[in-house]
Each structure stands twice: as C-alpha cells, then as structure tokens.
C-alpha cells in the first residue's frame, strides 16, 4: 500500500480498529515470550558481575523500563504534532492512552533504580544526572495526565495536551543537558556506576531481548487501550453499533 494512503487510512478510527485486532495479539504474544525468555535468562543463567555479584541482575528490568519510558514521551510529542497539524483523531487517542503506560514505566524505572542503588551505592537515592532527569520526566507525565483530567471537553483537552507534550519534547534535551552539567560540577565521579569492562554477550543478550520485549509490550498495551478508546468515542456511529449487535 502506498505510504500516503496508509497515512490517510490511519486517520480513520474504524480502519485502525479493524487493522489493530490481529496486531494486538501478535505484539502481546511476542512481548510475553520475549519478556519471559529475557528475564529468566538474565536472572538465572547470565553470569554474575565480578564486582556487583548478583545485584546487577536488576539491570534486566531497570534498563528496559527506563528506555521505554523515554521513547513513550517522544511518541507523545510526535502524536501531539500530528494532532495539531493534521487534526487526526487517532493521534488524540494515542496521546490519551500512552500517558498512563509511560508514567508507570518511569515510576518502575525509578523504583528499580532505587533498589539497585541501595546495594551498589549504599543509598536509596542520589541526585545523579540520570535519576534526576527521570524524576523530572515523571513530573512531565503527571502534568499531561492532570491537564487532561482538568479540561472537561475532550477535543480541547486533547489539543491542550498536544501543545504541552510538544513543549516537553523541546525541553527534555535542555533538561537533560542542564542536569548533566549540574552533576559534573557538584559530584565528580563519586556516584558513578562501578564500571565493569564492556559487557560480554551472555550478559547483554538477555538485556537486548528484554528491551525488544518491552517495546512489544508498549505496542500491545497501546493498541489494546486504543481499541477500547476507539469503541468508547465512536459508540454512536453506525459501525460500532453493528459490531456490538453482531457479538
């Protein structure tokens, strides 16, 4: 299918609903298999770190959640741009459904980071560059969530969130740079992770599997939530009525 036609079709909630039915299953199964394989491999079979022992194994949860939480915010920014420029209904639904997923992944990354920090750094929390920018990211997610809750009219809420997501995406590199800068001035190398030599493949392969798995999870969760949202918002249309009547 030509790309332009695909782009136009994606704007149609009905087409999205019909297409996403099988994709939810494909992505869901892939996510389950990959996450189980990656976690078991990483937790039980990968070799222990020569300095951190077994405590490093939380990396197999921590790194995927941290990566996917940042990608989700980028996705929100992209959806916001599409909504403002092309007024695509589906983009608004993505903007609404991806926020809780990103928020929980950010919270999980912060939590696993704290759990990892206790044995490694000897403390639950440090004002390290990465932890701090993740914390700011969590607040950015809270803001998006709160703004949508506060505006009663759905269409207005969606476009307001789109503006906010765009501002956030522009700001994230600046926040990241400023926090890095702040760290290098105040905490030179004290709280750096004990740097092991470059990871051997038997250590990073399970990590790669889990990263892939969590992206599949993002796709599956997002599509499943999107399908519910489509049904909810289009409940008065003919095709949704026919669909429900057929069940």
């Amino acid at each position: 299918m030509p790309l332009k036609t695909l782009w136009h079709r994606m704007g149609s909630p009905r087409w999205m609903y019909q297409m996403s039915g099988s994709w939810v299953w494909v992505l869901g199964v892939m996510a389950t298999v990959l996450l189980i394989v990656g976690s078991l491999w990483g937790l039980a079979f990968a070799p222990a770190d020569y300095q951190q022992g077994n405590s490093f194994r939380i990396i197999y949860i921590h790194v995927p959640t941290a990566i996917v939480s940042q990608s989700t915010y980028m996705l929100l920014g992209a959806a916001g741009l599409v909504l403002l420029v092309w007024r695509m209904k589906v983009a608004d639904m993505v903007l609404a459904t991806a926020v809780p997923f990103g928020m929980s992944m950010t919270a999980l990354a912060l939590f696993t980071g704290a759990v990892w920090g206790k044995p490694t750094w000897g403390t639950w929390w440090v004002w390290d560059a990465r932890t701090t920018s993740m914390l700011v990211l969590l607040f950015l997610y809270f803001g998006l969530y709160a703004l949508r809750q506060a505006i009663p009219r759905q269409e207005t809420a969606g476009r307001a969130c789109a503006v906010l997501a765009l501002v956030g995406v522009i700001n994230i590199p600046i926040i990241k740079y400023s926090v890095d800068w702040w760290l290098t001035l105040h905490q030179p190398a004290t709280f750096k992770l004990t740097e092991a030599p470059a990871m051997p493949p038997e250590m990073w392969l399970p990590l790669a599997v889990n990263v892939l798995g969590i992206y599949c999870l993002l796709g599956a969760v997002l599509l499943a939530a999107l399908r519910l949202e489509i049904l909810r918002r289009e409940r008065d249309t003919q095709w949704v009525r026919e669909l429900v009547a057929a069940r």
Partner: protein, 225 residues
C-alpha cells in the same frame, strides 16, 4: 495598523490596566519577601547557612513568585471577554501576546531583579557576587515568563487552574533554576561562570522564538469551548 503599532498599543493597554490594580502588582513581590523571611526563620537565622543556601532560596522563590503572577496573565482578559476579542481580531496574534508577556516580565522578573539586592542582603549573600545574581536574574527571568505563559494560556479557561499551572510549568523551569542558581554558586566559589549565563541566554532566546506561537495556539484551544 502597523506591526509596531499593534505591539505598542497592546503594551500601552497592559500598563494602563496594571496601574489600575497596583495591589495586584505588589502581591507577588510581597510574597517573595515574606517567603524569604520564613526561610530565615525556619533556618534558625544562622548567617553561614543562609549564605550557603542563598542562591537556591532566591532563585526558587523567584520561580514561585513568578508563577503566582502568571495566574493573572490572561485571567482578567478572559473573564471580561477581551481575550476572545483579541484572539478573533488580532492578526498576527503572537504580537499582542508578546506584548502581554513583556508587560508581565516587567512587573515580575524585572521588578524582582531590581529588588534582588534587598533579598541578597537579608540572606547575607556576599556583596561581590551581587552583580552575578542580578545578571542571571535579568537574562533568566524572561524565559520564566515566556515558558510560563504557555501554561497560563492552557489553563486560562479552568476555574481552579492554580495548582495545575504549577504542576505544568515548574518541571519546565528546571534548566533555568540549575543554570541561574549554579552561576551564583560558582561566583561564590570564585570559579568562572560565563558558560551558565550564556546557557540562560540560549534558553531565553529559544523560548522567545517558540513560546509566542505556542501561546497563541494554546489561547485558541482554550477559547474553543
């Protein structure tokens, strides 16, 4: 009307309205000094401790006082309907928006910069870092007004938008706080700090380039309902 005419006309209107409600202008500034006093009281009044924390305290309270002033940026115009008139009539909209933000900066950021020596005195900030503090406030506070205006425009139609505005805007203020307070801390330690000041300028310039358009878009969205 010419482009400059639109801008100057809006600016003149803002000042006329602001002068009619002087107490509203003074409230954020009074809040700033009230909160400074509370910090000194809570910290036990020890000069060494206050001096060490002075850059952070002053910058954080400037952020908060700025936020308090932001709530009123579009509120009154929204309530009496003149904001709707403006959005419908003005072409391009970003010019009067920029004039409103400039007026807001003059009575919040600029006024706080002018009063900063007094804050520095209360918190025992060494006199030789005062020029740095003033410079960071002068180049950093415009960014606060510009970024904050986006949040104010998004929440203007909400009855109780105050706390929400803080939640939306404060995370975006993080870089300004880091570079602003950081430059003053560096000056106290006697380290070269021009890099932070250049970064504040960068943030202000980027905000000046993008914010007026986003504020215009946000105002149109808020007035849809």
């Amino acid at each position: 009307m010419s482009v400059a005419g639109v801008f100057v006309g809006q600016l003149r209107r803002e000042f006329k309205l602001l002068l009619q409600s002087r107490e509203e202008l003074a409230n954020p500034l009074i809040f700033l000094f009230l909160a400074l006093t509370l910090f000194a009281l809570g910290g036990g009044g020890s000069p060494e401790m206050l001096r060490d924390f002075a850059p952070a305290i002053i910058w954080v309270l400037v952020l908060l006082a700025n936020l308090l002033a932001l709530e009123g940026l579009f509120r009154r115009d929204y309530d009496d309907g003149s904001l709707e008139m403006l959005v419908l009539m003005a072409e391009p909209l970003f010019l009067p928006v920029l004039a409103k933000i400039l007026a807001h900066w003059i009575y919040s950021g600029l006024a706080m910069t002018v009063l900063a020596p007094l804050a520095a005195l209360i918190l025992f900030l060494p006199a030789e870092v005062l020029p740095t503090l003033l410079l960071t406030l002068l180049v950093g506070t415009p960014a606060l007004s510009l970024i904050g205006a986006i949040g104010a425009a998004l929440t203007v139609s909400l009855r109780r938008g105050g706390v929400l505005l803080a939640l939306l805007v404060l995370p975006l203020y993080v870089p300004v706080l880091i570079f602003g307070a950081g430059a003053v801390v560096e000056a106290m330690a006697g380290i070269e700090n021009m890099a932070q000041i250049y970064w504040l300028l960068v943030i202000t310039m980027v905000a000046l380039t993008i914010a007026p358009f986003l504020v215009s878009a946000a105002l149109k969205i808020s007035l849809e309902q």
